[in-house]
Symmetry: C2
Subunit: 333 residues, 2 copies
Amino acid sequence: MTINRQWLINANPRGRALTIEDFKYHEETLQALTSDEVRVKTTTLGFDPSQKGQMENVSGYASGNNVGDLMVGRGIGEVIESSHPRFPVGSIVTGPLGWQEYASVKPRLLELIEDEDIAPSAYLGPLGSTGLTAYFGLLRVGQPEPGDEVVISGAAGGVGSITGQIANLVGCHTTGIAGGSKKCDWLVNNVGFNHAIDYKSEHVKSRLRELVPSGINIFFDNVGGDILNDALACIAPHARVVVCGGISRYEQATLPQGPANYFNIVFRQARMEGFLLTAYSAEFAEARRRLKTWIANGDITYKEDVQEGFENIPKTLLRLFSGANFGKQILNL
Amino acid sequence: MTINRQWLINANPRGRALTIEDFKYHEETLQALTSDEVRVKTTTLGFDPSQKGQMENVSGYASGNNVGDLMVGRGIGEVIESSHPRFPVGSIVTGPLGWQEYASVKPRLLELIEDEDIAPSAYLGPLGSTGLTAYFGLLRVGQPEPGDEVVISGAAGGVGSITGQIANLVGCHTTGIAGGSKKCDWLVNNVGFNHAIDYKSEHVKSRLRELVPSGINIFFDNVGGDILNDALACIAPHARVVVCGGISRYEQATLPQGPANYFNIVFRQARMEGFLLTAYSAEFAEARRRLKTWIANGDITYKEDVQEGFENIPKTLLRLFSGANFGKQILNL
């Protein structure tokens, strides 16, 4: 009898900060596999701010999860039991494995990882929803043109850093906003951003005015709050504000103020637009093919923040909300 | 010697409510007309909330005006002196006449009014920037489709009431938000809105949920503030929020809060977009031709709030900010 260790949802964190107590340790005995499932031993989990939103179970975003349910999450693992011809024992797969050591998953939810030249964990970052969000958010919603001034908040995060690199590939000029000189140095020296603004030590609006005197053509926002407001003060005519995330809002008890400068979209004939990745699912394969090529060519680099150990899973998610992670947050079990 | 009575800008009302003291009465002696000008005796002036913005002289919106300058404003008048073949004495014209009895204007800034079946004052409303703003804001920015649920704030105003009628012509279902039962009754019984919400006596968000249970496809906002926030709470997937005006903001000393619900544009994959009418100037003639046809057919009706007397010009502009006007605000000198 094999014991499967799991983390369950212990409380709904809606309207407050997420805590360690929102998760509950659980053990179950592995049941016999049904014929339409594949058993996967999880090796790596990926973390994303939207996981808090899923726990909040608010209609309209992601389908929610209830207290007592297994915490959802995407991961990488190895097939250890299977009668499915496409996923033989020993295959490396990615899919919605959840926060547990062993996942029993329907094959249609899994993807086989066959690349030899890219680390499997890339499927939790640049080749997963992180990279796809950057790709479609920038290219479809932002509609960049060569020479555009692109400003990205949360630039050192998984989505932000890839967005900046795709923007550079399109011929844009890039400015990243991130917290701390370590992240800012990395953006400029390793990722290829033209400029970086440290929101913890610099006045964001003044620095935007200095670095982007012609105005922002695309603001790709992962943060919301004051940074969104500062950026709206600095948009160029016909700017596109891509609303991708709002991590500054995710832990607030009541809805914070919206951007007081929103009316600049009238003066600047600009648009603010939100998107959900699922809208582009028909094009994921093509986007991933391109992202793979860029990674293989060295056109896109990425950074992982790797934590270790099953017991550290809940506190690893919390790192995202304090900004402690530097790069795409993953954990090896 | 003819005396020309004028109203000048006496103070910049930036960041506060407009008052009667922001204007100064002035008399000048009419000078001889130069050869490249036409002299027009003003008969009617049109009023628009953007006139306060012009006085504030903030870069990026309309080119501003300074304290001591003649107050700008569009009007209708009769040519009383001219050597220009296209504008003989007796012609009825519209153009930027300003707040004065006699305007000396370059012909290229004037338009001849030759229609026999439409009152000249229509050129200050449905055939002027009011109608054009409704036309391009709804059709180009909003991109309505038949069956769309269109909600309009400031619906009983000049822009709002025409926007609703164009939306009906396109096959949309229309809900207007206005202040007071008189305006709401007019919207439903005379203008053809399907529903009206009285924001002074009704809870806007609850009523939107009742009247538009499938969600708002297009929100055309003339007001901003709480009403924009309520509408954002009720948008449908892929909604378009057309930011046309924000009269609730125009008199605030400090920038009021932005819409706390802006993040719904992510959940709903929606867009908020601003526009300036000048972007569409190449298409004004065609738009006006269509608006004329609709007015002539009775497909578009409009209401004027007519004040009288040169001495009442400043206080007539103030009516817009208290919501006292019912229909397009004009004044006959």
